[in-house]
Symmetry: C2
Subunit: 454 residues, 2 copies
């Protein structure tokens, strides 16, 4: 649905641009959400992008557009803008988005913008930049409603009408003591339903989930997802409330983390590269394939070691692909299940042996089934008086071993990594597949030469 | 952090259970969020689970526990409960969770519960069960605040204090006309800051995102994620408001869809199976591996066709693994990037040729780099007067072709599937890898026999 809407939108805008129909363009641009405009920009020349951008009346929409644009489009676009124009838009953006935006710019430009913003008194962003990118501090917004415990519900509504008009996502009111230490939380709806004179302390929830500025963003996302809350307060070492992480940012984190895991498992870096240039994408993927190339060279040595066996019985070579393929595929299944299970909390690192033994058992059963199948194929196609059942047995055994080992290694490596606090997604992909390949091929040749006496 | 807390919790509860310290147990159980208790249950016997469950005082927490428990634990647990007890808990649960829960039970039991609930006048759940599981209708909650456009802000606050006390996630007020048709939306914070006498129609937002009951849940999640909203209203064919989908359910969908995609790509079914039995997990994974087994058998035929070449030059076999491995790995990179890009909206199905040609270019460059590397290895290890440079050239060419084809197929197949509205994640995994393997091995042998004249 979204997709088709965008196609129509892009085409209408193109038509209006060609006709120079500024009034209609302005109408359509200002009616379209900036998140959708960011898609339209992908299909426009820089010149058309500027025309559309200038037509946007609401400066906040310009800010949203900035946060939604893909990095390379954004960089090109910002290049032609004056510092003042950029800063003006920055000031309309939530400070976490500003921090993100600055992170994408070349250092010199980011510094210049920060200096300009500092001169105009916007220190919030600088505060945010102090924290690690992937921590609660790096993704929190410093806009939240915090009120003293002795205020009444009526006082609270009054200060929302005055002081807190520009808080972006206000669904909770945080209750603090005189030193800004976090005491409890009140939802807006509680505020609306209690008697006007009730002091906040009497109806606030004190059993509150909070995180530290240095808590990992993935951890923050897990808490929000798990307890179905809309925002989680961030406190510093003194339990002073310094910001909140809102659910909309958590959604972005959850999607990003899943993308990162998938890319890491495929050995394709960790940031999404499709929208980057061919050369950049090549550079990111090159090193991961190196593991596989080195593994392949090792396999060359192993197989050439068995040259004389191959000369005596050339059909040995015919089963190399199936033995590698079966091991590789079941290994990918196991590591995907474990990595994703760990990420979503369905699997716990402490259950190492339980998880690994289950995978091993599954690998063995599947190995036995397919080992038998492939042994039968070998027997039907290549039996003769010399090999008798020997070749079929070698092939079958190799499949069982390869699949069992693959399931074992594919589950064990990410579990061990998770226990050692290393990202399990990195562990899988090319490295694991390649080592399983080598072991499988080696075992196959050992079995065959022993059993067939080659 | 969460993980360590759970370990401590499980151990404390075990200790208290052993000592029969019911008062302390009750304290700890009622202080712990049901989402955490669901983890504790994993490590407890059925008997202990029942003891803990009986100690929970708040029936809503019992309901949350029911929604959080893993399927197999839940089924065992519910087995020993009376229908009345189950129905009592169901009635405290949001109706979307009840519908989910009933979906997990055996049909006969679910029907019995529904009948009992119907007798007590709970028709909401039956309404939900009418809609497809994966549609907005299937995941919406029918609890929302809808008010007529001519009411004032003051009226609205009053009715929140009376009628709408038990609405679970109330952050928006939906404004409707006399026929319950959706007209606009008001956030709770707007309600608090306007003058008491203002009619809702005057400050409602009319530019509102809504979805139909049959909209796919993935689409709903995209809208919520894209426009940073906390809930999206669901309307029927007459634009009558029938429910809302809240952001907490959207988070679950986003995680689930990412999990499904990863499992499908690995050919490991689509539901998370780790917590299921070895046999069930075997059954799910068996058919996906069949594609790979059949592909392997095809490779057997292809390679055995070149038996005489292998007999003349046995080292040919030594490069089978590296040619398959390089193709397989780059193919996985390409398909992961495309599948994930499509899922997150970074890649659009209409850009087919742009995306595929970029991947092909990347595949060709990487193929050239690694083709050269592996050709050099072949030349150093296996040159003799007969083969001269011929063998190295065959191996290098095979790597370039294999990697280019893998990048092409790995990106083209999911793009074509997405265009035809078939889930691109299904398309990748075992099928693609296996076909790339076969083509690569075939080309390799064709090159080698032609160039070396075998």
């Amino acid at each position: 649905m979204l997709r088709d809407q965008n196609v129509v939108l892009v085409e209408s805008i193109r038509r209006l641009l060609r006709r120079g129909a500024t009034t209609n363009l302005s109408k359509i641009v200002n009616k379209t959400h900036a998140a959708d405009l960011s898609i339209v920009f992908k299909y426009m020349s820089l010149g058309s992008q500027r025309k559309l951008f200038d037509l946007i009346e609401d400066i906040e929409q310009k800010g949203i557009l900035f946060s939604e644009l893909e990095e390379n489009i954004l960089l090109d676009f910002v290049n032609g803008m004056t510092l003042d124009d950029i800063v003006e838009i920055m000031e309309s953006m939530p400070s976490d988005d500003v921090a993100d935006f600055l992170g994408k710019l070349p250092q010199a430009k980011a510094d210049a913008i920060l200096e300009e913003m500092h001169a105009e008194g916007s220190e919030e962003v600088e505060d945010l930049l102090r924290y690690g990118d992937d921590t609660a501090g790096g993704i929190m917004v410093p806009d939240f409603i915090s009120l003293r415990e002795d205020l009444t519900a009526k006082n609270a509504i009054e200060s929302m009408q005055k002081e807190y008009l520009d808080v972006e996502m206000a669904f909770y009111i945080y209750v603090v003591d005189e030193n800004s230490k976090l005491l409890g939380v009140i939802s807006l709806r509680q505020l609306v339903v209690v008697k006007a004179e009730t002091p906040l302390r009497e109806f606030m929830t004190t059993d509150i989930f909070s995180v530290r500025t240095n808590t990992d963003q993935e951890e923050v996302a897990k808490i929000v997802a798990r307890y179905d809350i809309l925002a989680v307060p961030v406190v510093d070492d003194n339990n002073t409330l310094v910001g909140i992480v809102t659910v909309d940012d958590v959604i972005d984190i959850i999607r990003l983390e899943a993308t990162e895991d998938m890319l890491k498992m495929a050995g394709a870096g960790e940031d999404f590269v499709e929208t980057q240039s061919v050369l950049k994408s090549t550079r990111i993927r090159l090193p991961w394939l190196f593991a596989s190339a080195i593994g392949g060279v090792l396999a060359v040595f192993i197989i050439s070691h068995f040259e004389s066996s191959l000369q005596k019985f050339a059909y040995l070579a015919a089963f190399i692909p199936v033995i590698m393929g079966m091991g590789g595929n079941i290994g990918t299944q196991s590591s995907t299940i474990v990595v994703r299970g760990l990420a979503t909390g369905r699997i716990h690192a402490k259950d190492l042996w339980q998880v690994v033994s289950k995978e091993l058992a599954t690998g063995f059963i599947l190995g036995a089934v397919y080992g038998l199948f492939i042994a039968v194929v070998a027997q039907v196609l290549f039996h003769d008086s010399v090999t008798s059942f020997g070749f079929a047995i070698s092939v079958g055994l190799a499949v069982v071993c390869s699949m069992s080992i693959a399931a074992l290694v594919g589950s064990l490596v990410p579990m061990v990594f998770a226990r050692s606090n290393i990202d399990p997604a990195v562990a899988t992909g090319p490295f694991v597949t390649t080592s399983i390949d080598i072991v499988s091929v080696y075992l196959y040749f050992v079995f065959a030469t022993k059993i067939l006496g080659l």
